[in-house]
């Protein structure tokens, strides 16, 4: 994981190296100052040497300026390195995600990917900067101060040594204990916030059932629980800071006591005693910093792991060596196709599918939820690979095509479709980048989208909000169909794409297909019998298998499932489409 992440530092190696160098310089400068200070006191003051004082003082100011330069350099290179590293990480992930196949995408949830690209990267960026700037500074500051102290007096310095050991053990112990508590409490805290979220979105239910008091009680109980857990967790760390101060104080007292003895005994100078007391703070503060860095790194490690997962994920569909660059026609054939989303699964989603569809045919697909209708059509544009058997489009196995060529010729309107922020025209041009406005209008006419687009104040320049929230479901579906039509594909697949469109418009769209693009093979998945009954042939899917394949009349005669669905839909419980945008 660390290797994957660090390989993304790339062009930011130099600043990544310069940062700790600068920080080291700063530390050295800061350490030298107390020594010079001691000399001023010992040589300058006791030697009554004014010249020496100014000489050394001047040197100290020069060193302070050097320290300043190093410090600013550290800040400059540190942010250059960390923000650049973050940029590269984001890019590596995003680029890799673009190569993902559908099954790669299925593996990560959408929100999971978003978190990895945003929050997780920010965590790493912070940790990286902190590490570059502090990880060098804190230990080196501690080591330099330690060495200096030992030079002044090994005996007194050993007091620090013991203090550092003592505090390290205590910090480790406390953090270990506390992190367990805090992890638990934050999980509960998230749960509490989730229940608030639930209440906000379900407020109508709460109010309709007059459950405000009930929810309040529930919340109060949860809040009390959180309170108790937080207090318990924090009680674990409240003595950290006093303990730290206490140790500093103890060191000062011990150094003072023994130092006094040594001065009187002539083994130590007054100035050196003062330097030692200054180092005391340096050493123990650095220790505290180290602990903070340690916590930060453990937290960042989780983020790093999630990021590495995305970068390391290998796209499981790749282009063949010598890809076929042209699709001859819109014929489709399935030969003994088995398919499972999980390759190791014993229970395939599709079992032994054999199908032959002629170019230009209109095929309906019908079947209950979970009967694998979508899985069937998703294989045609090679969104997934078959587990066994083969699928041929235009007489060639889909695995032999260049994927881009294949997907341009097999246009799918997905069941879960989305529009992107931008104008309607921008969205349509996803289908064909350089489509003229007339081409777009033609496609919209076929998809029966022109009528509502033209009613909008800005027409084709109407801006679609993120997630397409400012168009109705039916309108969105029609725009998505138009977008797919602009590709002028040889095969067009509609995966339940007119479910929110009223039946009359639905029929109009199908009629336009028949008249305007007769040469295109059309596959239409639908819940409504009316959407498929005029198709040339209809596939009835049941539990991953083809239960029937034939015309409406044939199926009515000899397919039980089809007949049952037909009767239930026409026998009185069908749709009354008053709620759909009327044509």
């Amino acid at each position: 994981m660390l290797k994957t992440l660090l390989s993304q530092v790339k062009e930011y190696k130099l600043p990544s190296i310069l940062t700790p160098v600068c920080m080291l310089g700063e530390v050295v400068c800061e350490m030298v100052i107390p020594i010079l200070m001691a000399r001023i006191v010992d040589i300058g003051i006791y030697g009554k040497n004014m010249e020496y004082i100014f000489e050394t003082g001047g040197m100290m100011i020069v060193i302070a300026i050097l320290g300043l330069l190093c410090g600013i350099g550290g800040a400059y290179f540190g942010s250059k390195a960390s923000t650049g590293f973050a940029k590269n990480l984001r890019k590596a992930m995003f680029d890799n995600i673009q190569t993902f196949s559908f099954s790669n995408i299925d593996k990560f949830s959408t929100s999971g990917l978003v978190t990895r690209l945003t929050t997780d990267v920010t965590n790493i960026q912070n940790a990286y900067m902190m590490t570059l700037r502090m990880a060098m500074r804190a230990p080196s500051s501690m080591i330099v101060a330690m060495v200096m102290s030992f030079i002044i007096s090994p005996r007194l310095a050993s007091i620090y040594f013991i203090a550092v050991l003592f505090l390290s053990v205590v910090i480790m112990f406390v953090m270990n204990r506390a992190s367990k508590y805090f992890k638990e409490v934050f999980e509960k805290y998230d749960a509490l916030n989730e229940s608030v979220q639930e209440n906000v979105s379900a407020i109508r239910v709460v109010k309709a059932y007059v459950r405000e008091d009930y929810e309040n009680d529930k919340f109060k109980k949860a809040a009390l629980n959180i309170y108790n857990m937080f207090v318990k967790a924090e009680m674990n760390v409240v003595y950290m800071s006093p303990l730290m101060t206490g140790t500093v104080y103890a060191c000062i007292l011990l150094i003072s006591w023994f130092g006094a003895h040594m001065i009187v005994g002539g083994e130590l100078s007054t100035g050196n005693l003062m330097s030692l007391l200054t180092y005391c703070m340096n050493i123990l503060m650095s220790l505290m910093f180290l602990a903070v860095i340690f916590v930060m790194l453990t937290m960042a490690a989780a983020s790093g792991k999630r990021i590495a997962e995305v970068i390391e994920e290998k796209a499981d569909l790749v282009n063949p060596k010598d890809p076929v660059m042209e699709v001859a026609d819109g014929s489709i054939s399935f030969e003994n196709v088995d398919f499972a989303y999980d390759k190791e699964s014993d229970e395939p989603v599709l079992k032994n599918i054999n199908l032959s569809i002629k170019s230009g045919e209109t095929i309906g697909v019908i079947g209950g939820t979970g009967s694998a209708k979508s899985s069937l059509v998703n294989l045609i544009s090679r969104l997934y690979d078959v587990t066994a058997g083969s699928i041929k489009v235009g007489g060639v196995d889909v695995r032999d095509y260049d994927m881009e060529v294949l997907r341009d010729q097999v246009s799918v309107v997905l069941q879960k479709n989305v529009l992107f922020s931008g104008t309607i025209l921008d969205n349509l041009r996803w289908g064909k980048k350089d489509a003229t406005i007339d081409e777009c209008k033609r496609a919209c006419e076929m998809a029966c989208a022109d009528e509502f687009i033209e009613r909008m104040p800005d027409g084709y320049d109407t801006v679609i909000e993120q997630g397409g929230t400012n168009v109705s479901g039916g309108q969105r579906q029609r725009l998505c169909i138009a977008r797919a039509l602009l590709k002028k594909p040889k095969i067009l697949i509609l995966d339940d794409s007119t479910s929110a469109v009223d039946t009359a418009t639905d029929a109009k769209i199908r009629k336009a297909f028949a008249e305007e693009i007769p040469g295109t093979t059309k596959l239409i998945i639908a819940q409504r019998i009316s959407s498929v009954q005029n198709c040339d042939r209809i596939i009835v899917m049941d539990d991953g298998q083809i239960n029937g394949f034939g015309s409406h009349e044939e199926l009515l005669k000899n397919n039980n499932i089809y007949r049952e669905v037909y009767e239930s839909q026409t026998g009185g419980s069908g749709d009354a489409d008053f709620d759909r945008p009327s044509a």
Binding site: E26, G57, A75, Y76, T83, A86, V114, Y209, Y239
Partner: protein, 644 residues
């Protein structure tokens, strides 16, 4: 849809170099927060104050000790050649006492602070939640749910930081500054002057750097928002990107945004990162200057000025402990302002007007005693309206039947724009009323008026001939069952979710309701049956199953009047039939208002109301409306011509 809208603060989010949000009247806000804290924890707060004082006192004593150590003990011993360490030991023990006091009060402060902090937050959370539950539906319509959530998460969090860290640190810094300043003045006036001049320079530089980095932080935040928005959109539509071979374009745009963010983040961080070294080295310079000048003074005439080497040592220690709290104050000041911006949003929610209720007619269990309706103290299955008449000081009971009338009702979400005009309708007990019409015609709005989610502008709605404004809202809503189109389930078991309709229902009652709603058979097949945990709004159930649960939830409440919003979303035909049957069974014997999408529902309604643009354009039975050959006929036959 990913809920990652909330953008976590960028690097160094709190503290150095961040721009300050604008807060109106920070003083009043601060007072209000403190009022909140002090109201519930007066003694705790006093303890904290005392502790801070003691801690600062002991640390100042400790710093002074260096001077005493050298001047009063070591130097005299060196001068006299004495080896009597008795006095020194005494001094050290005394200082150790101060230190111990300091450490103890620091510990006590931290401990008490935990209680204050968590306790205040708990109260605040409870108040927020309780108040939120009391707000009218309109509030939730007009406020983005993400914004409401951010109050509970982000704003509470910044407030927690402020109460637990910023304020105590500010306080102790302030006390330290004052006491150190006094000590420095006592030690040496000229050196104090030098120190103050250097602090002035330091503050000036900080202000400069903060301004530059603040500007860049704003840019960084903007770029981060743009990039995150893009990422969210692309990840949501990743499959569409693939289907349209749009990967290259996505990467191009991503690179642009990514580069922009990198630039602004770099600048913001570089400036804010430089703040620390600048202040540190200015502090060092201040230290050096004082050392040089102090040494000069101490050398020139140590007796006359009374400034000794020990005094210089102490002064230098003070010099260091002076610049530190000043830096801290300027840092904490920023976080306090940020927390106040959060507090402003918290109090804004708390100040929102609760839903008002002037109703006094109550719904009670009733029984028939000697031909007269009286109140019962147990569940009888019969309801009555308890009507208290002030004028005559009498209480009358009227059986609840489920008769609803609308008389010339006008309604608009705002007074400027009416969405319903002159609605007149009459639902007799047990009747089924179907609303049909296109999206936005006002079907859902009408049903929201019956349970007073919204109040009407003009006209009257009567329930069993009582104006619904006179009925207590909670009783009114209890008498109305609702199945919404988008089902909302709560985290908990299936059993809990059904029981939501009647909290004291026994398991058997729950199962009976599930059976009535046709939900029993699928629940039985769940891994743990009725004890299966549902999370994330029932994400582990299908749309149809969630609807069945919502129906069961309404069924167990057993309300006399029902409001149903049939789902339009496509569920497969078999499930749909099951849902439909469940609904049909639920409707039996109840006055039902249904927003209908199913032919069967519409056709066998007692009254079909056709709405267009907020007006009733036709009403009557199916046959009547067909005979009229107007809008309903068109809708009906237009659709039939396709399926036939």
């Amino acid at each position: 849809m990913a809920e990652v809208k909330e953008i976590k603060g960028g690097p160094g989010a709190r503290g150095r170099g961040m721009p300050r949000p604008k807060v109106e009247n920070p003083g009043a806000l601060f007072k209000r927060i403190m009022g909140y804290v002090f109201k519930f924890y007066p003694i705790h707060m006093l303890t904290v104050l005392v502790c801070i004082l003691l801690t600062v006192f002991s640390s100042v004593q400790g710093t002074l000790f260096t001077k005493t150590l050298i001047d009063a003990y070591i130097q005299p011993m060196l001068d006299s050649g004495s080896t009597d360490y008795g006095p020194l030991l005494g001094a050290i023990v005394r200082v150790a006492g101060f230190y111990a006091l300091g450490v103890f009060s620091a510990f006590l402060q931290a401990r008490v602070m935990v209680e204050i902090n968590q306790g205040t937050l708990k109260r605040l959370r409870e108040d927020l939640f309780t108040h939120m539950e009391s707000l009218p539906i309109k509030y939730f319509d007009t406020h983005a749910h993400g914004d409401i959530m951010s109050i509970y998460t982000n704003d509470i969090d910044t407030l927690r930081q402020m109460i637990s860290q910023s304020i105590p640190q500010m306080l102790s810094s302030a006390i330290t500054i004052v006491s150190v300043l006094v000590s420095m003045v006592v030690l040496s006036l000229p050196l104090t002057f030098v120190t103050l001049v250097m602090v002035g320079i330091m503050l000036f530089c900080s202000a400069k750097a903060t301004k530059s980095s603040g500007k860049n932080f704003v840019a960084q935040q903007k770029n981060l928002g743009e990039l995150n928005g893009f990422i969210e959109e692309m990840m949501t539509g990743q499959k569409v990107v693939k289907v349209f071979n749009h990967e290259r374009e996505a990467i191009e745009r991503f690179d642009e945004l990514n580069e922009e963010l990198c630039q602004s983040a770099f600048k913001a961080n570089a400036y804010s990162g430089a703040l620390g070294p600048i202040n540190a080295q200015l502090g060092n310079t201040s230290y050096v200057l004082c050392a040089m000048i102090g040494a000069a003074i101490a050398l020139s005439d140590s007796v006359a000025v009374g400034f000794t080497v020990g005094g210089l040592a102490s002064f230098l220690a003070f010099n260091k402990s002076f610049s530190m709290p000043i830096n801290q104050v300027s840092m904490q000041f920023n976080s306090i302002i940020m927390a106040l911006a959060g507090a402003e949003r918290i109090f804004k929610l708390l100040d929102e007007q609760s839903e008002t209720d002037d109703g006094y007619v109550m719904l009670v269990d009733s029984e028939n005693k000697d031909g007269e309706i009286v109140e019962a103290d147990h569940h009888t299955g019969h309801w009555a309206w308890k009507h208290y008449h002030k004028a005559t000081d009498t209480t009358t009971y009227q059986p609840m039947e489920g008769d609803v009338t609308f008389n010339g009702v006008d309604f608009g979400y705002t007074d400027e724009k009416m969405v319903l005009h002159d609605i007149v309708l009459h639902a007799k007990p047990g009747q089924k009323i179907a609303f049909v019409g296109s999206t936005g015609a006002g079907k859902t709005t009408i049903t929201n008026l019956i349970n007073r989610f919204y109040d009407i502008q003009d006209g009257k709605i009567r329930y069993d001939n009582i104006n619904i404004n006179k009925i207590k809202k909670s009783d009114l809503r209890r008498s109305l069952g609702i199945v919404l189109q988008d089902t909302h389930l709560f985290t908990g078991t299936v059993m809990d979710n059904i029981r939501y309709g009647k909290l004291d229902a026994s398991d058997d009652e729950v199962i009976a309701a599930a059976k009535l709603a046709n939900a029993h058979s699928f629940i039985k097949r769940l891994p743990e049956g009725y004890d299966t945990m549902l999370t994330g709004d029932g994400a582990n159930l299908s749309q149809g199953q969630r609807q069945l649960l919502a129906i069961a939830r309404a069924a167990i409440a057993d309300p006399p009047v029902l409001i149903l919003d049939e789902a339009t979303s496509s569920i497969d035909t078999r499930t749909e039939k099951i849902v439909q049957d469940g609904m049909d069974r639920l409707m039996k014997g109840r006055t039902t208002f249904v927003i209908a999408h199913r032919l069967s529902t519409v056709r066998n309604s007692d009254c079909i109301i056709v709405l267009e643009h907020g007006r009733i354009i036709e009403q009557g039975t199916h046959d009547e409306l067909i005979a009229k050959k107007q809008k309903y006929y068109q809708l009906y036959t237009g659709m039939k011509s396709e399926t036939a």
